[in-house]
Symmetry: C2
Amino acid sequence: MTERIGFIGLGIMGKPMAKHLLAAGYPLTVRDLFPSPVDELVEAGAARGESAAGVAAVSDVVITMLPDTPDVEAALFGEGGVAEGVTRGSLVIDMSSIAPVPTRRFAERLAAQGATMLDAPVSGGEKGAIEAALSIMVGGPDDAFERALPIFQKMGKNIVHVGPSGAGQVTKACNQLVVASTIEAVAEALVLAAKAGVDPAKVREALLGGFASSRILEVHGQRILDGSFAPGFRVRLHRKDARIIIDTAAELGVPVPGFAPVAEALQRLIDADRGDLDHSALVTLIEDGAGVEARA
Amino acid sequence: MTERIGFIGLGIMGKPMAKHLLAAGYPLTVRDLFPSPVDELVEAGAARGESAAGVAAVSDVVITMLPDTPDVEAALFGEGGVAEGVTRGSLVIDMSSIAPVPTRRFAERLAAQGATMLDAPVSGGEKGAIEAALSIMVGGPDDAFERALPIFQKMGKNIVHVGPSGAGQVTKACNQLVVASTIEAVAEALVLAAKAGVDPAKVREALLGGFASSRILEVHGQRILDGSFAPGFRVRLHRKDARIIIDTAAELGVPVPGFAPVAEALQRLIDADRGDLDHSALVTLIEDGAGVEARA
């Protein structure tokens, strides 16, 4: 039996993801607050959902791909939300990147209605979405993961079932913590080299041969050398993820002294009108000398 | 003509490095403040130097491998130091990890006597020294680098001429900045995962597939999962490097807001009697909840 899929949230990421599902032959009902991506999908063969509840009512699987935690909460539990349309056996897959703790509450509320929820945030950006090459980090029950896997495989490549409900969002948060902190470290090192009169390109090369080597040094290190900050992944979005990380760490009592100043730097970039640059623009604050004073 | 080599500083790193040079057939004169490693090298065929000046007087190339900037300054310019023994054409190679700015001054002072200096700090630790597999980051003039290269090749594998005098030490500082900051990021992420009830081993695996991937996540991430903190590279030594980084950044006016709290954390580890653990023990502060409060 081919699952009927509902897709809520046709933004930069959601639209190409939904198109892959349509192209794979899934009966698809779509919804977005803006009419134009909905029209585009409807022309391609999807049905138009009049409300989130309406989408859920005609779908076996409902996927949400929305900007932030409150958006997902509203789509699921607001008036006319998904929760009003699900039935026993419905599968809800939230592929947004949102906070882990609320995610678990959402899953429990849906479970009370007999529906199952997976959290399945992605990385890989617009390019990964268009090329169906996203990394997908999945939290939730085994059987729900098995059920969703063929659907994930239409949108992504590196698909990992990390653990129970919330585990996908936790993994995404960990990923975004490491990525931002590593960009900051590479940026500080390359500016230090340059200000010390040493060619930062040679430093990057030398460092790639040892323990300092990383994908970030490779990719974002090169962007920093080139001064090329076309996104990639926008500062603004990483700042949203940073807030989730900081909040989650605070709730769990985990100190993040290394990450906290990086989260602040992302905010400073937004304040300086650089929110739509690639996150490797963290280096611009260091070049400006606009950071916290060196201390210790 | 085979160069006569003098080797000053036969510690954990220096002793195996000197042995490789002896084994390669270089006439070798050695010196250390402790008699036992000197005796060991003399038994193996080296000559005993009675002072740093004496070592320099009978050598074409003098290598120093010492703990910190003041040790190198004393060995070079103290009473009975290398500077008193060098002649026109002498090559001094400092393979210690010390501060870049004083390194340049040392090179200038030696140049005034007709001697050339290279800075050539290494990474790879005791294991790399024993296996003659060190990474060597070299600063100084081209012709001096060419002259030293056959000697370096007896001790290391990944040998990079990064730039002029001081460039080797700058590169080493950059390396140590990125390594420490990345360990901190990985540690924060894996503790966050564990406290959120997600298997940190699975998170490490998932992250290795994307932009968060690094040699540190691979190697030190595994040490963190195993709780295995036998050095490796000691916290105490990384704290010394951290001071060099912080001082150099301050002198150059480069803000290092991401690295500064990591430098502080290394100091806190020493204060907590963990200075002789591997630097991946940064994770223990996060597990203790002993870090700065999450903020931003």
